[in-house]
């Protein structure tokens, strides 16, 4: 009928029964499940170049690895983890510990965690499920996870899928935040966010350049991490050195050399030559008829007994008039009729002085200043203009000289820093310990905005060089482990690799690092494959039985786990 729409009059609508014939929720559900994206990569023993949007997010091309199974068993691994809760703490008896803060919702507030981290909560930040703003007190619950033991106990996966490819994430700190009122969870109001300043210690390849990390939030519905933002990392002053570090002495020497270089820079910058800035001439001040003047012999009477100060002031100001300054404290004019026993004069800023008139029981503080009248002022002003021009010229020359000196100093110090780094590199090369980590530990603050409650991670994809072997797993009695969650940690990377430990699994690891692998046994004990055992793996053989040592000890709390998994 028309050119743009097909207008139809009185179309016969289908009957209710006819519509119902088209209803088939089971078919819809089946289709929905079939179209759900796969949760892990089918084929895992591959290297990928990470491109597109994710690469843009991290501003780098990253090599990403898959971990886990041979092609035949990889589907099993996907199904194995799919059947579990996405966040799946391995030891039920160890409950996470949260710090709780009571927040007045009308005011918000700043809350500090035991690590020095801070949460900045805005006012009116919470709403209920129905979008209604919450008033009164709300309890914010907060915890931090920093290392492989925290990640292990939390059961939070440290890998994420993007376009069907699985990546591993290295963390610079992870937090979980939620809020409750009267035991009921509340939500973040639209447009509100909590500013998180997460203090952590991370390995940095370069002492003074913050490494690049991103912010991800765990989406427990989609079972994946969602990129949120760039992590705004700030390096704190503190560099952490541990005596157990095999490179401790080399690192300490390097840091000490750098500190000496910095000290020399400070000293050099502090020398008279560098800092003796020319002094600007002071402009003469004009007489103001609204303020009383002081007697001509005012200086003599005030400074009697202090000939040096008197001479200095006379030389500076000659026979000028002294006047009460506009900035002076309020005074009673009868003070000028009193014969004062003594007085003192102290310089203030802007050519003003504090004059204190003293009697037995009374003191009157006044601000006074030297001023000129009429032609004398005009002459002084003309002289001042000349002095000012000379001063500006001298200042420009001084600045140029200073810049030149600083450039030369920085070049020298840069060369010294470079030499110190070369000495450090040579020292660690001679230490013949390939598994030691030459990076430094530095304290940092991760800064980000949590726009909703849940689990937030400051992390980045990692690009490990690794070798792998086809694995079987057993305990020290020869009893096989199959269909168990395996955990693998590389000491150089702050993450945990979770995989299906079963016959035929491939275990990727960096032979140039220290690695540890473990499973939780059926009776809730830990069975470990230790770093020294990793060193004995013959990679050329291509297959290996990981004979895990059962630790015959009851696991009751986090400390137990830390002691068992320490390396």
């Amino acid at each position: 009928m028309g050119n743009n729409y097909n207008i139809q009059f009185n179309p016969e609508e289908p009957s209710k029964e006819s519509i119902q014939k088209h209803m088939d929720f089971d078919a819809l559900l089946q289709r929905f499940e079939a179209e759900q994206p796969p949760k892990s990569k089918a084929r895992v023993r591959q290297l990928y170049l990470w491109g597109g949007a994710i690469a843009a997010a991290v501003a780098a091309i990253l090599i990403v690895i898959g971990i886990g199974q041979s092609p035949a068993s990889s589907v099993d691994e996907a199904a194995y983890f799919q059947a579990q809760a996405f966040v799946n703490p391995p030891l039920e008896q160890i409950k996470p510990t949260f710090a709780s803060y009571s927040v007045n919702t009308n005011q918000g507030g700043v809350y500090e965690y035991e690590t020095g981290s801070r949460l900045v909560v805005p006012a009116e930040a919470f709403m209920d499920d129905y979008g209604k703003l919450i008033e009164g007190e709300v309890a914010i619950h907060y915890r931090e996870m920093h290392d492989y033991v925290d990640f292990f106990l939390s059961g939070i996966p440290m890998s994420y899928d993007s376009a069907g490819v699985r990546y591993n994430l290295e963390s610079a700190g992870m937090v979980e935040i939620f809020a409750e009122q009267n035991g009921q969870r509340v939500r973040m109001a639209p447009g509100k966010s909590i500013d998180v300043e997460l203090v952590a210690t991370i390995n940095v390849p370069n002492l003074n350049i913050p490494p690049k990390y991103n912010i991800y939030k765990l989406d427990t519905e989609a079972r994946n991490w969602e990129y949120q933002d760039i992590d705004r990392i700030q390096l704190l002053d503190e560099t952490v050195l541990e005596e157990s570090d095999p490179l401790y002495e080399a690192k300490q020497t390097y840091l000490s050399t750098l500190a000496q270089i910095e000290q020399r820079i400070e000293e050099a910058l502090g020398t008279q030559e560098m800092t003796a800035e020319p002094e600007a001439p002071r402009a003469p001040q004009a007489y103001d008829k609204n303020y009383p003047t002081l007697e001509l012999d005012f200086l003599e009477s005030v400074l009697q007994g202090n000939q040096q100060a008197l001479l200095q002031l006379k030389e500076q100001y000659g026979d000028v008039i002294w006047q009460i300054a506009p900035s002076s404290p309020a005074y009673d004019e009868r003070a000028f009729e009193v014969v004062w026993q003594s007085a003192s004069l102290e310089p203030l800023q802007n050519d003003e002085f504090k004059l204190t008139l003293m009697h037995e029981d009374t003191q009157v503080p006044l601000h006074v200043r030297p001023v000129l009248m009429g032609a004398e002022y005009e002459q002084a002003m003309a002289l001042h203009q000349d002095q000012l021009a000379a001063y500006e010229k001298e200042l420009a020359a001084w600045n140029a000289r200073l810049a030149e000196q600083r450039t030369a100093l920085e070049a020298t110090m840069q060369a010294e820093r470079k030499a110190a780094k070369e000495t450090y590199d040579a020292a660690i090369a001679s230490i013949n310990n390939q598994t030691a980590d030459a990076r430094f530990q530095r304290k940092i603050v991760n800064r980000f905005q949590a726009k909703s409650f849940g689990i937030w991670n400051c992390d980045r994809p990692i690009a490990p060089d690794y070798q792998e072997v086809e694995a079987t797993f057993s305990d020290n009695t020869g009893k096989a482990f199959n269909q168990k969650t395996g955990y693998l940690v590389d000491k150089k990377k702050n993450t945990i690799f979770r995989f299906l430990a079963t016959d035929g699994a491939t275990v990727p690891f960096d032979a140039n690092s220290e690695n540890m692998l473990w499973v939780v046994t059926d009776d809730n004990q830990i069975a470990i494959y230790k770093p020294e055992a990793f060193k004995r793996i013959n990679q050329k053989k291509g297959s290996h039985n990981f004979e895990l040592q059962r630790i015959d000890r009851k696991v009751e709390d986090e400390q137990d786990i830390r002691e068992m998994l320490e390396f």
Binding site: G2, Y5, F9, I19, F25, L29
Partner: protein, 187 residues
Amino acid sequence: MSVPNRTVSTEDMQEEWLEIQAAQREPARFRPLYNRYYDPIFRFVFRRTADESLTADICSQVFLKAMQRLPKYEFKGVPFSAWLYRIASNEVAQHFRNSQKNRVVSIEEKDFSDMMDEVNEPQNELSREQLLQALDQLKEADLQLIELRFFEQRPFKEIADIVGITESNAKVKTYRILERLKKKLTQ
């Protein structure tokens, strides 16, 4: 809950939100929502296709997308049906874009007659033809408002929820379109 009224009470919306949350946790629990809204969504789509088989296909796609997007659904004080109508409206538009055919606008004779009164047109063949031509020239968004209000008799509150604007904005926009139609018809 029974088949929803055209405007939904806050209590009903809150009760329904519990069902939605259950479905967010477990997709199989989307069934009661599907059963409740299949019929109205089907009729909504049918009025824009006039083809039962095509409508069934589009409905299937509407509910699939609803399930896929459900984890991100947040309660904002608007009936769940409005969210479904919006998905349906987009799916219909997508279908007609892909097929490069004109989408259907279904009008009951009586509703059209009422609309002629609304724009002060005499009830004769010439005026009728002129109004149809004027409607045909409307932009999709404008026609949708006229359609929802005059050809489907929906209250402004529901129209606002479906289109994603405030109720007063829906009223203002609708009457401005009417004014434009009147002006066009008097030229």
